[in-house]
């Protein structure tokens, strides 16, 4: 599989993501400079975390107008796999590839810590290797992760099972405290209607090696590679 990691000025998880894709998962991985006009035939494009353009204007608002985003939009429209992590999720929202917007965290603090996520939908290409309701422990690191959308959009998301991850407690229960940033419906990750574009605030690339305290990020990357190889999200072999 060929993986592309988009680099904007201010991206800071680009090398982590590149390292994990190449060294942990053994995939052919390239950086994609935001000013270029080619996705270099990648099978999946990852928009990494960081602070593209210093979060000026709004998180992800300037990156959204980068030249490469035109190709990304076309790639996504053709069914290409796109994963937005943290700032990448914010860029996908600004691009309109995913619905809604991010507000400042409810406590007005930058939150950098491990959180628990509940996998709500296991029939996506990004979660097909997970059991439904599985609890993942993956770190977050963001200021603007307080998901907001209008009530109709939220209803649509719920109705079509497009909420992929919710913030939860270690036991999987959801309450106000577990909803660390104040997101509507405790949303931590969303997928588009086509099922090929996912955004998530937590960082699976920071949870892919035991030495870093969690390997739960494997669920997401294993699912992606399984899907790209088999063309189907589910069906475990063991």
């Amino acid at each position: 599989m060929k993986c592309g990691v988009v680099v904007f000025p201010g991206s800071n998880c680009d090398f982590d993501t590149y390292h994990v894709l190449r060294d942990v998962y053994g995939q052919d991985t390239v950086f994609l400079w935001h000013k270029d006009h080619s996705l270099q035939n990648c099978d999946i494009v990852v928009l990494p975390g960081g602070f593209s353009y210093g979060d000026y204007l709004r998180s992800g608002a300037i990156a959204r107008f980068s030249p490469l985003m035109q190709e990304l939009q076309e790639f996504a429209d053709r069914g290409g796999m796109v994963l937005g992590i943290c700032n990448g999720f914010q860029v996908l929202l600004e691009l309109g590839l995913l619905p809604g917007a991010m507000l400042r965290n409810k406590n007005l603090k930058f939150l950098c810590r491990h959180v628990h996520l509940r996998v709500e939908n296991t029939s996506t290409p990004f979660t097909g290797r997970s059991e439904r309701g599985r609890i993942l422990r993956i770190p977050i690191a963001h200021f603007d992760g307080n998901y907001y959308s209008d009530p109709q959009t939220l209803d649509e998301l719920k109705k079509h099972n497009r909420i992929v991850f919710r913030y939860c407690r270690a036991d999987g229960n959801i309450d106000e405290e577990s909803n660390v940033n104040g997101s509507m419906e405790s949303i931590a990750g969303l997928i588009n209607s086509g099922g090929n574009v996912m955004g998530m605030m937590p960082h699976p690339e920071r949870a892919s090696e035991a030495i870093l305290g969690s390997e739960d990020g494997h669920v997401i990357f294993d699912s992606v590679f399984h899907y790209l190889k088999s063309g189907s999200p589910n069906k475990k072999t063991s």
Binding site: A61, A101, S149
Partner: protein
């Protein structure tokens, strides 16, 4: 010509920063403050354009770039017409 664009959160969107400012004003004794909404200001120096075209373009820019219509609203005003600037 100079245009000022004001961007603020929609009424339906919580503004925790505004609330924090209000709370500190209360702490300082300014109890008459009922509510604070925080926003952004953009001042644009622009070429002279026919009024209609200018209005169309400013509205387009504000809705597409300066504000995110999902969470924000905007308004704009002309600050200064060309030739009105004083040294």
């Amino acid at each position: 010509m100079k245009i000022r664009v004001l961007v603020s959160y929609k009424e339906s969107v919580l503004d925790p920063q505004g609330q924090t400012v209000r709370n500190s004003l209360h702490t300082l004794g300014y109890d008459f403050i009922q509510n604070v909404r925080q926003g952004k200001v953009f001042e644009l120096d622009i070429d002279d354009l026919p009024r209609e075209k200018m209005e169309l373009l400013i509205t387009e820019i504000a809705g597409k770039v300066l504000a995110n219509p999902i969470i924000e609203r905007f308004e704009w005003e002309i600050l200064e017409k060309s030739g009105e600037r004083h040294p």
